[in-house]
Point group: C2
Chain length 281, copies 2
Amino acid sequence: MRVHLDCFPCFLRQSIIALRFGTKDESLRETILKSTLDYIQNTDISKPPAYTTTFIHKKIRQMLGIDPFKEIKSEYNQIVLRLYPSLKTTIEKSLDPLWISTRLAIAGNVIDFGIFTSVDIEGTIRKALNNQLAADDYNSFKNAISIADKILYLTDNAGEIVFDRLLIETLIQLGKEVKAVVKGSPVINDSTMEDAEESGLTGVCDVIDNGSEAVGTILEWTSSAFQKVFNNAQLVISKGQGNFETLIGTEKKIFFLFQSKCDVVSKELGLSTGSMLLKKS
Amino acid sequence: MRVHLDCFPCFLRQSIIALRFGTKDESLRETILKSTLDYIQNTDISKPPAYTTTFIHKKIRQMLGIDPFKEIKSEYNQIVLRLYPSLKTTIEKSLDPLWISTRLAIAGNVIDFGIFTSVDIEGTIRKALNNQLAADDYNSFKNAISIADKILYLTDNAGEIVFDRLLIETLIQLGKEVKAVVKGSPVINDSTMEDAEESGLTGVCDVIDNGSEAVGTILEWTSSAFQKVFNNAQLVISKGQGNFETLIGTEKKIFFLFQSKCDVVSKELGLSTGSMLLKKS
């Protein structure tokens, strides 16, 4: 997925969100925002928007001297951990735990502070469990899981990672060996090893990092160790719009679980913004 | 009114609107959009956003080699001219023609292709005539008009200028001498002398131009002839958000008739976006 002109204002909108999390100093916000304009000017529109946003967020972290999302990430891990027991019960009592935990994993993708400034987790859970998905390859997904021994699971955001833990626990109960992937170091509110630990995911399955601080999964920027794991994976479950944008062109058998949060991606998919998807590559 | 950080993405959004009107060449759009980033980088946030947007739109016109809004301006002059007879009847049949023509003039401010890509004129007329204004200084406005001999009327957009003609005709029927002002040369879809002629306004009152191609009315950039007229005016009626942004700080007795179209201005006014205002300076 390549950059559209409508991504340009959105790059600035995303920068402002990060800066508001990162500092109360309006003058510093202005200085940093202006300094990100060079990356927008150098945007290669033949590549996914994630390239430009990776550069921008790195610049913002460098100039702030902190990770602006550190606190909100931990806060949302804790918020979803408090929901964990009741969500676990919902899954265990259901006739199709895979169906419920998959839907919940898609609901969890709403916790995206790259795009949103506030989220309605419980409303999104209701929507995910009660409404149809805009793209629903569940039968194909269920079938692919039934014949796979090993699954590579690319997580997206902190907080959301607790929903991922629930789906991964279901997959393990189905006899699957799951390896989860987090970012190599902080970018936006994406999960890192710290979040995998805080969410309890490290106690559930093997967790590795991809050696990268890129938005989504820009394969060329990931570690060779991760690339090897990715290339050998039988089946990949990929969370979030960033991973969708950056991996949709690859040959791999991937199921994308995400919410389509921007007009550009939604238009390209022929869906309305805010749609929930379980989409086969 | 000064620039807020949220204006930065909006600068780009407005540029994209202009570029989509101006060319179908996506690569040229990208080149021009990137070239406007320098003006965003040089934005002086102590000044109104109109300074930056003036530079941006000038650059866009120069690089396109045409006025991207030329056709849509004429189209909307013609659309509103077709509505003119029935609007005129509505005003003439009313108990308070000033009230009705003022409301219609505010409704007409929806025709703004700097911010919108499509407009619902008839829906906006219904809203203006049937709902309360978010800020309503009508009694003070009526009183100020009753004691003024001469009124300076700053128009805003093409198409909208036909609504202005209706209000100006009402003011003339009330015995007032009205001088209308248009832009010195094209900027966004703002009215120039060509629009004053096409809308029939030049047959109704004296029309002058302000010698400027700035968004709103940036006094320091207007002609000395206009500045003299402005400084000597007893009462000014000012249309549109651009004029509000750039003139709100002045000492002049001004009534601002406009729709608050962006979140930044609306938030500053404590109103919701899309509010209609008749606001005394």
